[in-house]
Amino acid sequence: MSAALSLFGRQTWLYSRFELQRLFLTPRGWFALAAFTTIWYFLLRYPIYQASVQLQEPEIQQMLSGMLGMVGMYNLLNWSLPELSVYWALTVFFMPLAVLFATADQTCSDRSRGTLRFLTLRSSRDSIFFGRFIGQILVQALLIGLSLLATLGLAVWRVGELPLSAINATLVIWLNLLIVLLPFTALMALCSALVRSSRLAISLAIVSIGVVTGSLGYLVWHFPDLRVVLEYLPGAQLPMLLGAQGWETLKHCGLPLLQTAVLLLIGRIVMQEKAL
């Protein structure tokens, strides 16, 4: 049993590490990094920098606090640096969408090309499935970390110092973003196990989210008591998350972790049963 677990752990780690190799040592990865850098250059240079400057104005701060307070996001402007407030508000909504695209090809191309046939003679389908998933999380952790460091750099350039509280806030945002993205990455692991191309996986994910949300909306319209079900959809915790501050934000991590576990469990079953 322990030998099997050790083999699973070793092979899963090899697959995860190989995803980092795919990012840093292949032309496809270099293009992805170049696109990531370009996008973040523009995000930092314009929305984040400009908004941070504007947020220094007391009138604007007062107006925004009032507006955000009305929708329950009282604490959004309370991060130690305005750059982090803008970063947090921006990424918490756009990153999940970006992740749907960036993590779509966890296993589908390999299945369609037949590469999985080479791999399954040497390792379990579980190692492949979970190894690729963890690899995607590692890549996200690294890229989010880099973008946060760039944001901190921008703030230091503007204010001339780096408050200790900003480092703490950066860690909180980094961890929260990773947790927010987990169910979306798991959803793509499942979709990737179901179909044979990344395009189809993206379409399947978007259609599934649309169909589930639409169906639940219809049900809630007719049976208002079911409203509580809407609170279990991926991303449902985001408005509450934006209303929280500091390490307190982690009290909202239960739902995404549970969603991730359920999606991975379904994905694992699909991966086990699917013909190669």
């Binding site: 092979q11 292949t26 496809r28 037949g114 399954t120 003679l121």
Partner: protein, 306 residues
């Protein structure tokens, strides 16, 4: 006795279509095993079941005593799957060494092993290329190379020489012949002459059923001689052959090729008798083979069953 592969009442269906029906067979380790059958006979499906790519619909199947796809078979069973390609984003060396690491090798050993198997298929100079830069034949050879990584006990090759030029096909056949002492091979191919040269046992599938499982040489060599003559006009050839002592039947299987069935007890030196007859009548022969060819052996049986 422990078998390489054991199947009992094995069936596989896709929806309503039964692709494999109630196969029961046991294959011992040793000489390479041929998997033969016409298109659509179920060879690739059987391969996929053996490799664990597909689950069986019913019945039992074990490979080296384990369920296909089981972790106990990792590194012990390898395969050349049909139409499978390596990842186009990485070099051959990177991917093969990754396979080696999955099989439990250290990075350095995996790199050395990758170089070894690439040189076995004459691709040592292409180690840094990506799969997309290779021709069809080269891709096939790389796929064979990956199947030889480590020390597999069973190597399953689906159409190993399809799409290869004659020189490379010969090289692959030689490679299989050389390595067949170290590992057991199962080879699926349409090239019956290739299988005849390489294999000791034949599984013949037709319409998803096992039509025949036999040793290539044993039954076929008893009481049969295959005679191939030089092109030319031979008068009264068939009556003269049928009149030879001990002859039971003569059939002309192909142009200038005749299969003579004889009573081995009545005429133990039948080959000598035949050679003397050839000399007496001035018939020039190109080849004289003891036994039937695999093609004759298989198709004579299936024709009789039909």
């Amino acid at each position: 006795m422990s078998y390489l592969i054991e199947a009992r009442n094995l069936s596989k269906s896709f929806g309503q279509k039964a692709v494999l029906q109630d196969l029961t067979f046991s294959l011992p380790s040793g000489e390479p095993i041929a998997l033969i059958g016409p298109n659509g006979a179920g060879k690739t499906t059987l391969f996929s079941l053996l490799c664990g790519y597909l689950p069986a619909s019913s019945g039992e199947l074990t490979v080296l005593g384990h369920k296909p796809g089981s972790s106990a078979l990792f590194g012990r069973v390898s395969a050349l799957p049909q139409d499978a390609m390596l990842d186009p984003n990485f070099s051959l060396l990177t991917q093969l060494s990754f396979f080696g690491q999955l099989q439990g090798m250290s990075k350095a050993k995996a790199l050395a092993e990758s170089r070894r198997v690439l040189s076995l298929v004459d691709l040592a100079g292409s180690a840094d290329l990506k799969a997309t830069a290779l021709s069809h034949g080269m891709r096939k050879r790389v796929a064979i190379a990956q199947a030889l990584m480590g020390s597999p006990e069973l190597v399953m090759l689906d159409e190993p020489t399809a799409g290869l030029d004659p020189v490379n096909a010969l090289q692959v056949r030689q490679l299989i012949a050389t390595l067949s002492g170290e590992a057991s091979f199962i080879i699926s191919s349409h090239n019956i002459f290739e299988l005849e040269r390489l294999c000791g046992t034949v599984l013949y599938l037709e319409h998803g059923k096992l039509v025949q499982q036999s040793a290539v040489q044993s039954a076929a060599t008893q009481g049969y001689v295959t005679l191939t003559l030089e092109p030319g006009a031979y008068t009264d050839l068939l009556p003269q052959l049928r009149a030879l002592p001990g002859v039971i039947a003569v059939s002309d299987s192909q142009k200038h090729e005749y299969v003579l069935q004889f009573d081995a007890e009545l005429a133990p030196d039948f080959d000598l008798t035949l050679l003397m007859a050839l000399r007496q009548f001035g018939w020039r022969y190109r080849q004289l083979t003891k036994g039937q060819t695999l093609e004759q052996q298989l198709f004579a049986v299936t024709a009789k069953q039909a």
